[in-house]
Amino acid sequence: MTLAILGFLATVNPAAAALALVRDRRTDRPRSVVAGVGIAAAILIALAAAADPLLDLLDINLGTYRLGAGVVITVAGLRWLVAGAVPACEEPDEDRRLAGFVAFPVLLTPGAVVLSVSVGAEHGALATAVAAGIAVVLAGLGLYMRRSVPHLFMIGLVRMLGAAATVIGIIVAIDGVRTF
């Protein structure tokens, strides 16, 4: 469970979320951010709940899935580690567009999505809900309060979480090799 929480923190990367929108302008639209967080959490939990049917649909074993998931998480982590956060976007005017953007691509990162199926298959949807919930809520908070958080600190934190994701990805991949 601890690894799941750390995994989601690293793959969602709340620091990257906090840098997803420009800092010089922030409208006070908590509902849109909450909606985006809610949508992302719901999708991650749904994926976890549907883990076994998904694997059946893909015709692959959990071990094979984990190997691939580990590679995805590692690549995403390396991208953050090497290139840092994606350049910030202008905040969209429409509330729905903001909510949608928060959900995807800010919170529904490739690593988080593949991790949710892996954690769901092993620990179930409830554990995924807790672990992913912590990460997406923190990320949403970081995005909402982005002008209050130190910018340089966040830039550095993006890379640190990228490094963590890289390590976690390797662990997941190795676990995949060892899983029947």
Binding site: L67, G100, V177
Partner: protein, 383 residues
């Protein structure tokens, strides 16, 4: 950047990434269905290839290249012993029609025995006797003894066992060669294959002659293999997918395996399973492009042997009980994949091809050996 372009780029990245993953690491695992009668038929077809192409003096046809329609002059005593062993396994499995051919293969080996420096006997036709050759001769004799209850070769088995023990070092590792003229093991040369072959031989010797103390060297080599062998042999990734170690662990299942032996068994099972799953992903139309060409029949056969030989451990040892279902499922998948690639007999199919597995147009006797053994041992998990 605006959110629309960032979202668009993300969607494109996701689509490309998903496609790449689906084609490669997440390619579907194709497991052709196989029932017990089909697997037995495939195993007997493989054994038929060995027997039909056996020479009058008991030697086996070593290989056949169907593109050039020729066989090489190569031969390998270890593989001869292994093929003989496989035929005796078939006899034990109820296919008694192979006993004559197995005995002819055995007779060929018995004409090539040499005394060793420490009072043992080695199977060789050159000055440097190979450990693996004697080991698989022991295994052949043990399989024969189990199949026929005939004890006429008991003394020979014990003498071969003496040679196996001669080749063992203090740490349990085994030296691969014995200099017949000098009467001593050739120092410092080991083999990833022969160590496991020797261990299985020692284990079978203890089972046959429990009063003679072959269990002690067996434990020493098992400990070595479970803890140090892969490091010493620079194996990466570990563990070496060693079906001989698997056979040994299966044989020693009731001896009281320690936790580190079980950990080694688990690691071996995981390794074999991963290889079978990867091979199953070759079953798609593009599989050979993304996962490389299919391995030779002998290779796949060794994976099945490895899984099947340790399957009893998952049934009898609580520490591996969680793997019972997954091992059966993986074994069935591998058996289906192997049977699918066998050359079917037919009116226009030469006896040099029927029942064989070809790799780059070449089949070798140990392709049929390992495939026959692997399929035979897979029978219990098939419907």
């Amino acid at each position: 950047m605006n959110v629309r372009s960032r979202t668009g780029r993300a969607l494109v990245t996701w689509a490309i990434g998903a496609a790449v993953m689906r084609l490669t690491l997440w390619a579907p695992e194709v497991c052709p269905p196989l029932v017990r009668s089909e697997a037995r038929a495939a195993a007997t077809l493989a054994a038929d290839w060995i027997v039909i192409n056996q020479l009058d003096d008991g030697k086996f046809l070593y290989d056949f290249h169907r593109g050039r329609n020729e066989s090489s002059d190569d031969y390998n005593l270890v593989r001869h012993a292994g093929v003989t062993m496989s035929l005796y396994q078939m006899v034990r499995g109820g296919e008694v029609q192979y006993l004559d051919a197995a005995d002819r293969g055995l007779a060929w080996m018995l004409e090539r025995l040499e005394p060793t420096g420490g009072g043992g006997v080695a199977f060789t036709d050159v000055n440097w006797a190979k450990l693996g050759a004697a080991s698989l001769l022991v295994v052949s004799l043990a399989q024969r003894r189990l199949a026929t209850s005939d004890q006429q070769h008991d003394q020979l088995m014990q003498d071969l066992g003496t040679f196996l023990v001669e080749q063992q070092r203090d740490d349990g590792s085994m030296l691969n060669f014995h200099d017949i003229e000098r009467g001593e093991p050739v120092p410092d040369m080991t083999s990833v294959f022969a160590t496991g072959e020797a261990l299985w031989g020692l284990a079978l010797l203890h089972e046959a002659f429990p009063q003679l103390g072959f269990d002690e060297p067996a434990w020493r080599t098992l400990d070595y293999m479970a803890t140090s062998r892969d490091l010493d042999e620079d194996i990466f990734p570990q563990p070496w997918p060693d079906q001989w170690a698997a056979y040994s662990l299966g044989e020693m299942a009731e001896w009281g395996l320690a936790d580190h032996h079980i950990a080694y068994a688990r690691a071996l099972l995981e390794r074999f399973a991963m290889i079978v799953r990867f091979d199953a992903q070759r079953g798609t139309t593009y599989g050979s492009l993304t996962h490389g060409p299919a391995p030779r029949g002998g290779g796949v056969g060794t994976w099945l042997e490895g899984l099947a030989a340790m399957r009893p451990l998952t049934l009898t040892d609580e520490r591996l009980a969680d793997l019972e279902g997954p091992v059966e499922e993986t074994l069935a998948c591998g058996a289906g994949r192997l049977a699918e690639s066998q050359v079917e007999p037919g009116a226009n199919v030469s006896p040099l091809e029927a029942g064989a597995w070809f790799y780059d147009d070449l089949t070798r006797m140990d392709d049929q050996q390992h495939a026959a053994s692997g399929l035979l041992l897979s029978l219990p998990v098939l419907p």
